[in-house]
Subunit: 209 residues, 2 copies
Amino acid sequence: MANELLHLKFDHVFDSDLINEIDKIGVIRTFSKNDIIIDINQPLQYIPLLLSGHIKILREDSDGNELLIYFLEAGETCTMSLTCCMGTSKSKIRAVAEMDSSLIMIPVQNMQSWFHNNEGWRNFILESYQTRFDEMLEAIDNLAFMKMDERLYKYLINKVKLHTSKTIIAKHQDIAEDLHTSRVVISRLLKQFENEKKIKLSRNKIEVL
Amino acid sequence: MANELLHLKFDHVFDSDLINEIDKIGVIRTFSKNDIIIDINQPLQYIPLLLSGHIKILREDSDGNELLIYFLEAGETCTMSLTCCMGTSKSKIRAVAEMDSSLIMIPVQNMQSWFHNNEGWRNFILESYQTRFDEMLEAIDNLAFMKMDERLYKYLINKVKLHTSKTIIAKHQDIAEDLHTSRVVISRLLKQFENEKKIKLSRNKIEVL
DNA sequence: TTTAATAAGTAACATTTATTACAAAACTTC
DNA sequence: GAAGTTTTGTAATAAATGTTACTTATTAAA
């Protein structure tokens, strides 16, 4: 079998015929940490399935301010790309590799017919929509109802879960950009967390206790 | 034909067989202004198609604070209900009639098979997802990148568009709840808009100039 | 028409977040 | 290890939003 990761991550999602077809027509692409996978206004001709790594989905306003909306993990797809492909419109988000990642890209034409013929594919897409909807709602909750200290703490906990490691490698500036605030605000709050014994700070590194 | 509104709003979306089936199995429900159509945590067994009126889709946090996410208009459906029905989960949002409204409710079982057999239905659902995604992104943008004065002005303009009337009937308290802020903040900003000749205020009424 | 209830106006103050500016610490490079 | 660069710490201040408390205006009810 050509692609081990494809089987590992998607064998329980798609039937073997579909897996083989994906394997045949899908194009593997690899990205390094911080690579832009898809940028805002870029037209989309492929549906990506994430085989390994993590991808940050970001929104940007007209002044270049960014906001992290959610992360994609291996075994997931970006439903934004689906809606874009259907409407042959352009990407409304930026996708950035949060770590080294690999994707398999499926041309839109194929996925249109699968949607019609293949129940596994259909369910995968509909479940993806549900997951993304839920994450968008959570993003809205975070922004609307939570203060910056709560948002930051949640962000840290989420990173710990994603990487299954208590140690986060990041600079305050990066975090500030994800949460759309300023570095000073993040440094201040992190120091406060450290005083409360929630974390331990060092250069480029945050240890969650 | 049993239901005029169904034809008026959906004839160009679905083929005539599907329209007739919807007409046959769908249950019409009418709501008065401010009625709660679906509440948070309520299980969903029906997909609603909006025949007339406007519906507010709201999110609520654990302290009972609300936030308006978007409006539904006639000819639309709530994709939240789709994801809920698929996963047989509970509503994550509250739907409130913004004015007297009528819906046709379709049992989930039927819509599952249409999804498989009927291209018109499939496209309608996928387009609905796209529209809702875009509106969620806009909600996120509003919260992340805009200040309260901008959010308020956008809210007013949106209301004017929806009702095709320059006059908005609402009290400051209602607006404050939709935008999740306090009445005093809204009164202050509205007064500022009035001084800038953008609007004209009176009790329960805002005229957008 | 007086009274009560609701809605809006506004001042004073508190809190949260953003900004500016600079110093100290931790790494890199030569 | 000296010099430069990057990252973090922190104070002072500004701006935006939230809160409290009270007044005034408008409408509804008695």
